[in-house]
Amino acid sequence: MGATGIIFRREFRAYTRSPMGYIVAAVVLLLDGILFYAIALGPDAGERLSGAVLGIFLYFASGLTAVAAVALSIRLIAEERQAGTQLLLDTSPVRDWEIVAGKFLSALAFLSAITFATLYMPLLILVNGKIAVGHVVIGYLGLTFLGGAVLSIGLFATALTRHQLVAAAIASVITGTLFLLWPLSQNIGPPLSRVFAAIAIHGRHWAGFQSGLLHIRDVVYYLAVTYFFLFAATKVMEAKRWE
């Protein structure tokens, strides 16, 4: 196991040992459950098609996934700096990209575990309604890609500061801006509208996953956002390691 794997294991265990991990998981599962109840079993549920119910569920689940990703990522590096444990990593023969990759993968694994714990809800629709298995698979793939992208933003933010609240503010501003670009693009003219729509994190690129359609363009977009912010986080780590 390389340094990435060693750091991944430590960080994943840290989530399972800390109240923060359980609080995030509990809040996400509770809110997802309430939303699913309201959408699938509420007064208007009978009039909706099963596919539409699943689409609405995925829409709300994507928002919760993004919030959970910010909450899970802000501790990753800021906490180490605050506690002084970053010095152990800084003075060990570990490369910065290995630290970033290990931390990112651990947060993604924990977030995915929370996300996949909600899978029983779409399965209820699958059993009682009429939806394609592919719709569920692609929807959850989308949640994973979106979660990974927001986690990378959070990781970049947490690399910038030793204060978790500041990291949360930075991550929220970046993520919020990328979310708002889609409604903005609908209210302004070209060419800016096209640029905003292309870089918005939750609009054109998310719609396909929500509808059960897998576009390579959307996959590439989320991977590109993830790579960009992980690369930026690595560069920040490199600069701060020798500061």
């Binding site: 196991m1 840290a14 990593l89």
Partner: protein
């Protein structure tokens, strides 16, 4: 083992360190002594590859810290002022993580953990989460992570920080036990800590090394004199007749003053050592090591000498003389 040439470190326009140049041979135990904020931690972080020098060259075991930082990191064990322990991990898990992250294989780290736990005397807390440990144990766990990969160079920044007297004594004993297998650098502003564990001292002031050598060498170089402490029983048979005021302490002082080479005699402690109220300790300053002639003179005069040593506060005198701007 360690070579520094004209090393400086600036934070913006503020100079935190240097220029400093020195060498440390393999197997030495060297103490960095200086007031808080003079650049000790900066210097140690540079040596541990945790900080980039602004200028100059630093090599550890022949490797440049800027050109081969990972190779240097494999050879260095570093204990910062606050031990870098994860509160959510048990001691065993933490040492496993530290060993793996420093490049040990799974088998090697499993073999090393019991060894370092025994050496740092933390075996009994192997399964205890580090957040439940006392400061003394946390420091020892910090030392254990620093030696887990058996580094050639061990860097300890204020290793007795926040420890109680018993823990300080235990930490010193542990550091002495590590001297056989590592080159050790210790930073501190606590004089006895350095005095009792190091072979050589480097005294830092305002980011520069102002003196280097053993405690005795520095004392001689700075003051052209040596200090000793002699404790004499005052209820012995010695004659008090010619002493100032006729007191026995005065008689002892007179005897010492008559010894050739003695420059100054002061009564340091009337209660004597070990709470013996019938004894007194005198500090004697002379041009050479006067322990033998002073002892001989006192015994010939009929006084009982019960302790004879270098002055306990010699390093303090040297330190204040170098960084305090005046003679102690």
């Amino acid at each position: 083992m360690v070579h520094l040439t004209e090393v400086t470190k600036y934070y913006g326009k503020k100079r935190a360190l240097g220029p400093v140049s020195f060498e440390i041979a393999k197997g030495d135990t060297v103490g960095f002594l200086g007031l808080n904020g003079v650049g000790k931690t900066t210097l140690l972080k540079i040596l541990a590859c945790g900080l980039r020098p602004s200028s100059g060259t630093v090599t550890v075991d022949g490797l440049d810290v800027l050109e081969s930082p990972h190779e240097v990191r494999k050879r260095v064990g570093y204990l910062p002022e606050l031990p870098p322990v994860y509160g959510d991990m048990t001691v065993g898990d933490y040492l496993n993580f530290a060993g793996r992250i420093k490049g040990l294989s799974t088998d090697s780290v499993e073999r090393r953990i019991p060894e370092v736990e025994e050496r740092t005397r933390i075996t009994e807390v192997h399964d205890v989460p580090t957040r439940h440990l006392s400061q003394g144990y946390r420091q020892r766990v910090g030392v254990a992570q620093a030696i887990i990969h058996d580094p050639d160079l061990l860097i300890l920044d204020e290793p007795t920080h926040d420890l109680d007297p018993v823990q300080i004594m235990e930490m010193r004993t542990m550091i002495r036990s590590l001297k056989d297998s590592h080159t050790i650098l210790i930073s501190s502003h606590i004089l006895p800590e350095i005095s009792q564990t190091c072979d050589r001292l480097l005294i830092l002031n305002a980011g520069e090394i102002v003196a280097s050598g053993t405690e005795t060498e520095l004392g001689e170089r700075l003051f052209q004199s040596r200090r000793m402490a002699v404790t004499v029983r005052l209820d012995g048979n010695g004659d008090a007749g010619d002493a100032p005021g006729g007191s026995r302490a005065g008689a002892v002082e007179s005897v010492i003053r008559r010894v050739g080479g003695v420059m100054e005699v002061t009564l340091a402690d009337r209660a004597g050592q070990m709470g013996d109220a019938s004894a007194a300790t005198f500090h004697v300053e002379g041009q050479a090591d006067l322990r033998a002639p002073v002892c001989r003179a006192l015994v010939e005069a009929g006084h009982d000498v019960i302790a004879l040593s270098r002055a306990e506060r010699e390093l303090e005198r040297v330190f204040v003389g170098l960084v305090g701007g005046g003679r102690a």
